[in-house]
């Protein structure tokens, strides 16, 4: 029999599941992770193009990169031509390349699918090779497939992939993002590829536990997007999607908000005066793409000069260490960990003390809720809009199913309780319900023979 799986390719975490008609089995793809069924959506590519994903990628990155030596060499990158008056000029362009860089860690691969062209993120140079977004996703999906096949002991031919309700703002871009993802899956070796909306998948999984039919709102709030679906569930024959909606507000935005509002002062913001070059570096700290790119010899000179001039030396030393010791990933993880901790307690600490960087911030839930206040209105609006599009009233909703890591944030749980009634809000498995639902869909749509 041909095998088709459900694969949730998430912004922060991914997972694979299979359904045998009775029960869903989540595959322990990442045995090095604390929860083996959840795979971090990160990819590490070494200088000799060996790729790893999940916890192995993170471990390898830490092992090879943190506090490593750097050696920059000047390389010819090409030439540009420009005209001044009637004269045409051609100039060589050189870049500084760190020839000791052992590998590159890539994350938020799904987010880049949404970036608008032109000028958006279409790919990246990894040492001597150029990888398009589709290439990167192909490598990631390929490794997921291989590991799943190893666990199942058989080849996998088909996959049902999850996709957010709204990949991009324009239908054209939305279609393009889905097409890129499909192409990557086909190149990864899947012969049959189809899609299901992520909140619908989560609903299918929730349906397994329902004892009677009802109207359900699925609130799928992950690392990259918020997806809402209003559905009739409980009886597969009368299953119906009334409406679905989404917005690109999610966990990564909250991380960014925390850094922007609370942590930039730790790296010198407000203390360096009118130093545009230094300010530019400080303001790049929340940007996970820009920060590693700052590690150039010129920037080091600028920072060291500012430190010698006594310009917030302790803060700029921290910035220097953050950039040049490859601690950006560690820093973002610390911020994310504090955010997650605040879902279950009133305060958490964001600290880089163990990395010898004097960053220590006691952060409370109250501060966090203030910092993400602006997003709350957007989230509430998309829920109400989707509900309005479904033609149902809040009183007609029987259950509100939360899934995705960000759905645990108390501010949003309270908001859902306020809109629909606290007793209706139920928590589905935050990281695995989408993959489980996709597996159910995969089993239902299997056409390969």
């Amino acid at each position: 029999m041909m095998r088709k799986v459900g694969l949730d390719f998430g912004t922060s975490n991914s997972g694979v599941a299979v359904y045998d008609g009775h029960s869903v089995r989540l595959l322990p793809i990442d045995r090095q992770n604390i929860i083996p069924e959840v795979v971090k959506s990160v990819l590490y590519i070494t200088r000799d193009y060996k790729c790893s994903i999940g916890q192995a990628a993170i471990d390898q990155y830490y092992r090879a990169n943190v506090n490593r030596l750097r050696r920059f060499v000047r390389q010819w990158a090409g030439e540009i031509d420009y005209s001044g008056g009637e004269i045409q000029y051609v100039r060589d362009v050189y870049v500084f390349v760190d020839e000791l860089q052992p590998g590159r860690l890539l994350q938020y691969l799904k987010t880049v699918l949404r970036k608008d062209l032109p000028g958006g993120y279409v790919g990246t140079q990894v040492f001597e090779r150029y990888f398009t977004v589709a290439d990167l996703i192909r490598v990631y999906l390929g490794q997921m497939k291989e590991r799943a096949e190893e666990i199942l002991g058989e080849r996998i031919q088909g996959v049902t992939l999850g996709r957010p309700v709204k990949f991009a703002d324009t239908p054209e871009q939305d279609r393009k993002a889905e097409e890129t993802l499909r192409q990557a899956a086909l190149e990864a070796g899947f012969r049959e590829v189809d899609f299901e909306l992520e909140p619908v998948a989560a609903a299918l999984f929730y349906e397994q536990s329902m004892t009677r039919p009802g109207n359900v709102v699925v609130f799928d709030f992950g690392g990259g997007t918020l997806d809402i679906a209003v559905m009739r569930l409980g009886n597969p024959q009368s299953r119906k999607v009334f409406a679905s909606g989404g917005v690109d507000i999610a966990g990564s935005d909250f991380d960014r908000a925390i850094i922007e509002k609370r942590l930039l002062a730790q790296f010198g913001l407000g203390r360096v005066g009118q130093q545009p070059e230094v300010l530019e570096m400080i303001q790049a700290v929340p940007d996970w793409i820009a920060l590693p790119e700052l590690a150039t010899p010129q920037n080091r000179n600028i920072l060291e000069k500012a430190i010698r001039a006594g310009l917030a030396p302790a803060r700029l030393k921290s910035l220097l260490a953050l950039i040049y010791n490859d601690l950006a990933f560690t820093f973002y993880n610390q911020v994310e960990a504090a955010k997650i901790a605040l879902s279950s307690r009133g305060a958490a600490v964001i600290s880089l003390d163990d990395q010898k960087i004097p960053v220590w911030e006691l952060y409370t839930r109250r501060q966090f809720e203030n910092d993400i206040q602006e997003y709350q209105a957007g989230v509430e609006k998309v829920i109400l809009d989707t509900l309005a599009a479904s033609g149902l009233e809040p009183a007609q909703i029987d259950a509100v199913v939360k899934t995705g890591g960000s759905s645990n944030i108390p501010l949003f749980t309270e908001m859902l309780g306020r809109l629909f009634g606290q007793e209706k809000v139920v928590q589905s498995d935050a990281f695995s319900s989408v993959a489980a639902g996709l597996a159910i869909r995969a089993a239902a749509t299997l056409t390969l023979d």
């Binding site: 002062a265 730790q266 307690r345 009133g346 305060a347 600490v349 003390d353 220590w360 006691l362 409370t364 839930r365 109250r366 501060q367």
Partner: protein, 393 residues
């Protein structure tokens, strides 16, 4: 950075959710503890800066680095000189410098042509007094640009470049009478050993061993003052004892002592004291014959005077747990009774060769990997000593 505004926000959180109050208190208390510890360290550092201790420490470090720089500059200068002369003249044949030195301070430098150094090669014959001063001739292989540290039995030291020693070419017979006397031993002292200094910069300690099993380590960071004062110390406590060997090693490494009667003692460098202390309990008629550093991937080779070769993997070396130990016995009592004794020991790798000197002065070369198979050297004469020639033949 704790601002009044932040404190206000923490208080509000505690007011809004009283259970957060305790958590915030715990987190702040933890931070306070860390900062107090750090403050303590900073205060100590401040005191060290103010009373000049730290300045003195940095001065010493600078002096040490300047000394290293001088050694490297001298070596580089010699290499460049070699390069310049190489351009002018015909290409020089690759050579290895064999030093044969006696307790009386005579050092014979023999230039061996690499091409002739195949396994089993009979290199020639060394004539003269092979056991001058009661000690057999010592052999060592060095590079021409190397700087040598000469340790005398009084604890005095001196340095001498290899290039400054008169070289005798490859041939069939070399006489120790032709050997130079770069630093004649003072009255009552003998030349104990010679140590190449190129690894000094990369090492943490000088490690000395005496004939009677005393060891002493000295930080190489003190090399500047040691060299300036021409004195390292005997590394021996008893009057009848004398320094025997010296090596350079790093923190975390192991060294081994091998004795005439076949005892092997492993020592963790980190466990050793900076003072001279007895670590090997020896019988009155036994004494140390070799001191060498042991890396985990190396093999230890022990040679008996009858040409038997004993090999042990480095992992089999058990570091001594007690302050005074007899070590592992490698020669059985029956063999000891038959008169079997070690002439030396060393750590080797598979591609290395060993150069053996027998009692009649014959020098022969053997591949380490061949010895594993045969377990004995083909020499018919009793052996006197040997040294390791690193690398592939």
């Amino acid at each position: 950075m704790v601002t009044p505004q932040k404190i206000e926000e923490w208080i509000k959180e505690a007011e809004e959710r009283p259970e957060s109050g305790l958590l915030i208190l715990k987190l702040i208390a933890g931070r306070l503890r860390d900062l107090t510890e750090r403050n303590e360290e900073l205060l100590s550092e401040n005191i060290a800066l103010q009373d000049g201790t730290r300045v003195e420490e940095y001065r010493k470090r600078i002096a040490y680095l300047e000394n290293q720089l001088e050694i490297l500059t001298r070596r580089l200068g010699e290499s460049e000189a070699g390069l310049v002369s190489g351009v002018a003249g015909p290409p020089k044949e690759a050579t290895a410098n064999l030093l044969a030195y006696t307790a009386l301070g005579r050092i014979l430098r023999i230039e061996l042509v690499e091409a002739t150094l195949g396994p089993g090669a009979q290199l020639g014959c060394l004539t003269g007094e092979l056991q001058a001063g009661g000690e057999p001739v010592h052999l060592m292989i060095v590079r021409e640009e190397e700087e040598l540290l000469l340790l005398f039995t009084s604890g005095r030291i001196s340095t001498h470049p290899v290039g400054g020693l008169r070289a005798v070419p490859s041939g069939e017979v070399w006489s120790l009478d032709e050997a130079g006397l770069p630093d004649e031993p003072h009255a009552g002292e003998q030349l104990a050993c010679i140590l190449p200094l190129s690894r000094l910069v990369l090492s943490d300690y000088f490690m000395q061993a005496s004939r009677r099993g005393f060891v002493k380590k000295t930080m190489t960071s003190m090399a500047q003052s040691v060299l300036e004062n021409h004195y390292l110390g005997r590394g021996a406590v008893q009057k009848t004892d004398r320094p025997l060997a010296m090596t350079l090693c790093k923190k975390g490494e192991q060294v081994a002592l091998a004795t005439l009667e076949g005892h092997l003692l492993g020592l963790n460098v980190d466990d050793l004291s900076y003072t001279t202390e007895e670590r090997l309990r020896l019988e009155p008629h036994d004494h140390v014959v070799s001191l060498f550093g042991v890396s985990p991937e190396a093999t230890m080779v022990f040679l008996t005077q009858s040409g038997k070769v004993i090999q042990r993997a480095a992992q089999s070396l058990e570091p001594a747990k007690s302050a005074l130990s007899k070590g592992q016995a490698l020669i059985s009592p029956a063999r000891l009774e038959q008169g079997v004794r070690f002439v030396g020991a060393a750590a080797v790798h598979a591609p290395d060769r060993i150069l053996v000197l027998d009692a009649k002065g014959n020098l022969s070369l053997h591949l380490v990997s061949d010895l594993a198979g045969s377990g004995a050297l083909p020499d018919e004469n009793p052996l006197l000593t040997f040294c390791v020639l690193p690398g592939r033949p």
